[in-house]
């Protein structure tokens, strides 16, 4: 290695050293420790004791709630993430049109995403009350008898998806920012060609936006697998385990039943799933995500 190269390496590592140190101390080391914990019996208090694959074995063979929580989480991810992208992107398209009050509209749609999750949960528990909630009250004025939203096993997960759409403003601003980067000359050219709005969207906007959509997709999937607060406050997993999210069940195992080894095993299974899911998405990106258009 030449002296210059060595120096380059040294400078590079110096620059990334904050992350390198933080990664090894606060992430990598605890991460390996939790892998070890997943093979132990550990109640937080006494010393961990090695039990081999017992936790994994119990999870896979005799814990129906584990499978239920996986199913709930997958269903939520499969529905809420695409819907969120659709709504966020659609809103961004509308808000990109130059009209009066654009700032106000943008702020209006963005606010819900910054309301603290705790407050959101409380507001919606109330709004979705089947008898005295605002939602069913409004439905009633148009002659619909609303469901028992959060307290009906067939509607509870749907309710949580709807509530998640309320916070779609967070991804909306990212799409808005992406839309700013679409070269206007392309639109002008297409206007001259007399292309329809739909065609413009398909041929120009969409390809430019695919990286942003991909980014939101990945973040959305990761976020869904860690979904916790709303379910914790609003439904606590019920009714009939219909909103027993993986993170919620993991939390209960760890802190309600004091079984940290079991919870660590669950956490590791979750990690493998998330890495698997994101890798699959990364593999598909060659087919539809277009980087570096010009």
């Amino acid at each position: 290695m030449s002296r210059q190269k060595r120096q380059q390496n040294l400078i590079g590592y110096l620059f990334i050293s904050p992350w390198l140190i933080g990664f090894s101390v606060f992430t990598a080391w605890p991460f390996l420790q939790s892998l070890w914990l997943s093979f132990t019996r550990y109640d937080i208090i006494s010393e961990p004791k090695w039990v081999g694959f017992a936790n994994y074995h119990a999870l896979f063979t005799q814990d129906p709630q584990f499978w239920q929580s996986l199913q709930v989480t997958f269903t939520y991810a499969a529905v809420a993430v695409p819907l969120g992208i659709l709504c966020g992107f659609g809103l961004a398209l509308l808000l990109n049109i130059r009209i009066k009050g654009q700032e106000i509209y943008r702020t209006l749609f963005y606010i819900p995403s910054i309301v603290p999750a705790v407050a959101t949960s409380v507001i919606f528990v109330w709004i979705m009350n089947p008898q005295i909630g605002l939602l069913n009250g409004l439905l009633k004025t148009v002659g619909i008898i609303g469901p028992n939203w959060l307290n009906d096993p067939t509607w509870s997960l749907t309710s949580l998806v709807l509530i998640s759409l309320w916070g779609v403003g967070g991804s909306m601003v990212i799409y808005l920012a992406g839309l700013k980067d679409v070269p206007l000359s392309l639109y002008e050219a297409s206007l001259v060609d007399g292309a329809s709005a739909w065609h413009r969207l398909k041929a120009i906007t969409w390809p430019f936006m695919t990286p942003v959509i991909f980014f939101n997709l990945i973040m959305g999937v990761i976020g869904s697998f860690q979904y916790f607060t709303n379910a914790f406050i609003m439904t606590n997993g019920g009714p009939q385990d219909s909103t027993l999210f993986y993170s919620l069940y993991l939390f209960n195992r760890a802190f309600r039943y004091l079984d940290m080894g079991y919870a660590s095993a669950m956490a590791w299974i979750l990690f493998v799933i998330v890495v698997g899911a994101t890798s699959i998405l990364f593999m598909t990106q060659k087919k539809w995500v277009q980087y570096g258009n010009n």
Partner: protein, 289 residues
């Protein structure tokens, strides 16, 4: 730019249609918030008028019949607001300084320097974003405990100084758009990487850094679980913890909770309204491209 964007300014009937759509769509976005604010202004008796198995609320019940501003004063009186606000601002400032300085350094390293193993490390860093917090929660806690940091702000502050993968990712996207020639010119002039970073790159990155600042601010402002776990001194808690108290099973009334939630959200709202231009500009140069 201005002249190019004519097509984005649509025709009149088209505009009306867009307004109509936006207003219709903003209803579900805004109603819950209005509900929150209106509840915060209602006397208890009025809130429960719709309860108790009585009539379902209509849009009219959004308007409080008698406005009770004192809900705010009474809600605030139950928590040591001065302490909580001070602590929250302190944590926000320190976290912002730590996260922004460290993340921009790391991002510069990943985007503009070449060194052995760079791309692999970058992928590893992205991978850590997919790591569920629960995996590392207990070992991290034990670590801080062994360092003797339990009961202090250090566990909440120190990690910020070691770069956040999300911010690093956003900033690398931005730094990559800076022309390499400019940096090369600096290098030819004999400037060190440190000087290039401080004197050339940072001044050019203001919008991106502003966006990151807002993200860190939001995150710290809302953070509830961290302070709860690590802090034991009642006067060292934050606003998010104060808000949580209104939710407690043995807690007070809906009106107070809603008043507290409104107050808690208000500063962020004002901040976003005035900063949205910079914010969106900042994202547009970073977000996932």
């Amino acid at each position: 730019m201005q002249s190019d964007s004519r097509w984005l300014a649509p025709q009149k009937w088209h505009k009306i249609l867009v307004h109509f759509c936006l207003i219709a769509l903003s209803l579900p976005a805004v109603l819950p918030l209005l509900w929150m604010v209106s509840t915060s202004l209602k006397p208890d008796r009025e809130i429960y008028a719709t309860g108790g198995g009585g009539s379902a609320p209509t849009l009219a019940s959004l308007l409080p019949q008698a406005i009770k501003w004192s809900n705010y004063a009474e809600a605030l009186a139950t928590v040591p607001l001065g302490d909580y606000l001070r602590n929250t601002i302190f944590l926000c400032i320190v976290s912002i300084i730590g996260a922004i300085s460290s993340s921009s350094l790391v991002a510069y390293g990943f985007s503009k320097l070449t060194f052995w193993g760079r791309d692999v490390l970058f992928v590893v860093m992205l991978g850590t974003m997919a790591l569920p917090g629960q995996v590392t929660m207990i070992p991290v806690f034990t670590l801080f405990k062994n360092l003797g940091w339990y009961g202090t702000y250090l566990p909440l502050i120190v990690p910020a100084f070691f770069a956040s993968p999300f911010l690093v990712f956003l900033l690398t996207q931005f730094f990559r758009t800076l022309p390499t020639e400019m940096l090369e010119a600096g290098r030819v002039d004999g400037a060190t990487e440190w000087r290039i970073f401080i004197q050339l790159v940072i001044p050019l990155s203001k919008p991106a850094l502003a966006t990151c600042t807002l993200f860190v601010f939001l995150g710290t402002w809302n953070e509830f679980f961290g302070p709860l776990l690590y802090i034991n001194d009642p006067t060292k808690y934050t606003l998010a913890y104060g808000l949580q108290q209104f939710l407690s099973n043995y807690g007070g009334a809906w009106s107070y909770l809603m008043a507290a939630a409104t107050l808690f959200t208000l500063p962020i709202l004002v901040l976003f309204f005035f900063a949205q231009k910079t914010f969106i500009q900042g994202i547009s140069t970073t977000g996932g491209k």
